[in-house]
C-alpha cells in the first residue's frame, strides 16, 4: 500500500475536477457532500468523485493533505478550492463557474 498522500497527489493530478466526498454523486451520505454535488451538477461540470467512506486512509489522509478538517473537498486542476461553504460562495458570485470552465 502506498502512502495515502502519494495516492491523493495522483488523484488530484490525474483528474481536472475531483470531489472528495461521503458517498457517491448519486447517493451522497452527508448533507454537505450533497450540496457540493448539487453545485457541480448545476454548473454542468464534468467531475470525478472519491468516496472517502470506502477508504479510511484517504478519509484521514485528505484532511492533512489539504490542512482541512472536513469533507467534502474540491480540487480543480490540482489546486484545493475549498469545502462546500466556499463552493457555495464561489457559485453565488460566479467564480466557481469560471474556475470549472462550465457554461451555466
Amino acid at each position: 500500500m502506498t502512502d495515502p498522500a502519494n495516492r491523493i497527489a495522483d488523484i488530484v493530478k490525474s483528474n481536472d475536477i475531483v470531489l472528495f466526498m461521503k458517498g457517491t454523486a448519486l447517493f451522497p451520505q452527508c448533507g454537505f457532500s450533497g450540496r457540493a454535488i448539487a453545485i457541480l451538477d448545476r454548473l454542468g461540470a464534468k467531475y470525478e468523485t472519491i468516496d472517502v467512506l470506502q477508504d479510511p486512509d484517504i478519509r484521514q489522509g485528505i484532511k492533512s493533505y489539504s490542512d482541512w478538517p472536513t469533507i467534502p473537498q474540491l480540487y480543480v486542476r490540482g489546486e484545493f478550492v475549498g469545502g462546500s461553504d466556499i463552493m457555495m460562495e464561489m457559485y453565488e458570485n460566479g467564480e466557481l463557474q469560471q474556475l470549472v470552465g462550465a457554461e451555466a
Binding site: 448533507g31 484532511k63 478538517p69 478550492v81 475549498g82 469545502g83 461553504d85 460562495e89
Partner: protein
C-alpha cells in the same frame, strides 16, 4: 455531541482578537451551526486561508466534536474597499 454556541464564539475570539463573530444554531440542537466571522486579519488571505484560521481557532474540534459548522468569513467592508 452538542457544543454551546458561546464556546465556539469564545474559541474564535480568543484566537482571532477583535473578530466579529455571529453564530446561528441552525437546527436548535446545539450541533448544527452557521458562523460568520469578520476580521481585519483576513485581509489579503484567500478564502481557504481565512477558513483555515477559524478551524485552527477551534483546535481540532471541527470535523469531530463539531460536525456541522457552516462557515462564512469576511474582511470588514472599510478595509475591503482599501484593497
Amino acid at each position: 455531541m452538542p457544543m454551546p454556541a458561546s464556546e465556539i464564539e469564545a474559541l474564535i475570539k480568543a484566537a482571532i482578537p477583535g473578530a466579529e463573530v455571529t453564530i446561528r444554531d441552525l437546527a436548535g440542537d446545539g450541533d448544527h451551526y452557521a458562523a460568520r466571522v469578520v476580521s481585519g486579519s483576513f485581509a489579503g488571505l484567500s478564502r481557504v486561508r481565512q477558513h483555515q484560521a477559524v478551524y485552527s481557532a477551534l483546535g481540532g474540534r471541527m470535523g469531530g466534536e463539531l460536525h456541522a459548522l457552516q462557515l462564512e468569513t469576511a474582511v470588514p467592508s472599510q478595509l475591503e474597499s482599501e484593497q
